[in-house]
């Protein structure tokens, strides 16, 4: 019942997008078709134009079915050990994302704890954390790569994970600052009546009270880590990962490769968010929450 209710609007949007996409494919690719026809001195009919725009090998905008078939070829039909396999490249991106995500959670939670527990921390860390997010990551990424290389950490996993963490720590930090300071006066007073030490207040009250905020931030954070990983791949001279495939596709004029990598990235990001949502649901139930 629930599935059917949500399926209808989603399918409607997808259908509308497909219509627009096919329309745009015809419009954008027809210029090339007309040019070719003019050069050959022929006068193509409208149906000939339409069918040609759907099957060019290097179209301005590939048609949806072309992208799907490229996706199929590079995921299911290719061996996953091949560098042309999107599964192979996707695993690389996934690894970077998860490292960056983990690092981001760790940094975000630690900073939030310092900010909530100490006044000095609050005054000194918060402004810098906000400023850090105003610097375009594209400008910063090459510097991180160079620094990491100079520090002997290589140019592959480490700098890319740092870039991913740089984007993903912020949502966690902001939510956790809010979550750790969410207990009200009454709850804090209650623990004072027990003569509880700050340690107990933190672990028995602040941390569990912050969990809903934490989970809410994870979905944003994992998406940010993923974007960071792809940006990192674009900035590390395109050696591996889905970002590298996109760059190769665009540099070598292979739109199909670019679009297939783009869709693979979107699917992977969706899966990540879906997984985080699943984990959240399980933990929420373990913490006595009502089934939502």
């Amino acid at each position: 019942m629930k599935l059917r209710q949500s399926a209808f609007p989603i399918l409607t949007v997808i259908a509308a997008l497909l219509v627009v996409w096919y329309g745009a494919t015809i419009k954008m690719n027809s210029t090339w078709t007309y040019d070719q026809a003019a050069r050959a001195g022929t006068e193509p009919s409208f149906s000939e134009v339409v069918s040609d725009t759907m099957q060019q090998s290097r179209p301005l905008l590939p048609a949806p079915h072309q992208v799907v078939s490229e996706l199929w070829k590079t995921t299911v039909e290719k061996k996953i050990t091949s560098k042309r396999s999107l599964v192979y490249q996707g695993i690389i991106t996934l690894k970077t994302t998860l490292w960056g995500f983990t690092l981001g959670i760790f940094i975000g939670v630690s900073l939030a704890a310092i900010i909530v527990l100490s006044r000095v921390g609050r005054l000194s860390l918060m402004p810098w954390a906000i400023i850090s997010q105003t610097i375009p990551i594209v400008a910063l990424a090459p510097m991180i790569v160079i620094l990491s290389n100079a520090a002997g950490a290589g140019t592959l996993l480490v700098p890319k994970a740092i870039i991913a963490a740089y984007l993903s720590f912020f949502p966690v930090m902001v939510s956790m600052v809010k979550g750790l300071s969410s207990p009200d006066h009454m709850q804090l007073d209650l623990l004072r009546t027990y003569g509880a030490r700050p340690n107990a207040v933190f672990w028995k009250l602040r941390v569990p009270a912050s969990m809903p905020y934490f989970f809410a931030s994870l979905k944003v954070s994992v998406a940010a880590a993923f974007v960071g990983a792809v940006v990192g791949e674009l900035s590390t001279s395109a050696i591996a990962g889905l970002g590298a495939r996109m760059l190769i596709g665009s540099q070598f004029g292979e739109p199909m490769i670019m679009w297939a990598a783009l869709f693979a990235a979107a699917i992977l990001a969706g899966l990540l968010i879906f997984t985080v949502g699943g984990v959240e649901k399980i933990l929420r139930r373990a913490m006595g929450g009502r089934a939502v």
């Binding site: 009454m186 027990y194 003569g195 028995k204 569990p208 006595g288």
Partner: protein, 271 residues
Amino acid sequence: MTDLTTSEAERPAMQKPVIDVSGVDLTFQTNDGPIHALKDVNLEINKGDFVSFIGPSGCGKTTLLRCIAGLETPTGGTLTVNGLSPNEARKARSYGYVFQAAGLYPWRTIGGNVKLPLEIMGFSKEEQIRRVRKVLELVDLEGFEKKYPWQLSGGMQQRASIARALAFDADILLMDEPFGALDEIVRDHLNEQVLKLWARTEKTIAFVTHSIPEAVYLSTKIVVMSPRPGRITDIIESPLPKERPLDIRDSAEFIEIAHRVRDGLRAGHEG
């Protein structure tokens, strides 16, 4: 210490008060100037007393209770709890405190919530289990140990929070309008239960309320307070017997005391 209290219990005339408030003043400094929350408050609460603080909002009844609990610090006068300063008494875990809202942790079961102070105070695992069972039985919540707070009604949640305050077995129970947010039928029922609990545990209870019938029904001593500045206008020793069925509220004595409380409140308001 134990010897001292028993020997003193034999000589009630010489009994030292459990809570001794003398000449207590409390002024809050705010942006709109100082607010005189308590002015020259004198009060003795003896072992086993059930004392109610009653008065309109802003009369300082909650503030006085918080001073006794060591959650606020008076700006003048002396205040001792069990012979200690309120802060020392708080650290010695001399009292259990029940707040206006149950404030149970939604991520803990009822049993887990009652266990919270025991965990913080470092009771052993077996002792925790034993005590949780005992106090839940005391507030008629046996069998709800594994339920989560949202699965309980408001009255049951408040009972669980009373169990939590009783779990570590302090001699004093401080209750700040614990039934203020509940409907009258539930409130009557809980009042009856609190009296039974008091009789069984022989604790000293300080109870803040703004309901006249509640104060008269529960207390051995009613402290009438009035606002601006917060002060005590009348202290009424209740002649009602310790055994109090709900219909005692229709007796002439009950109505007379209620009348005196109402007069005290009115006088404070005009004064």
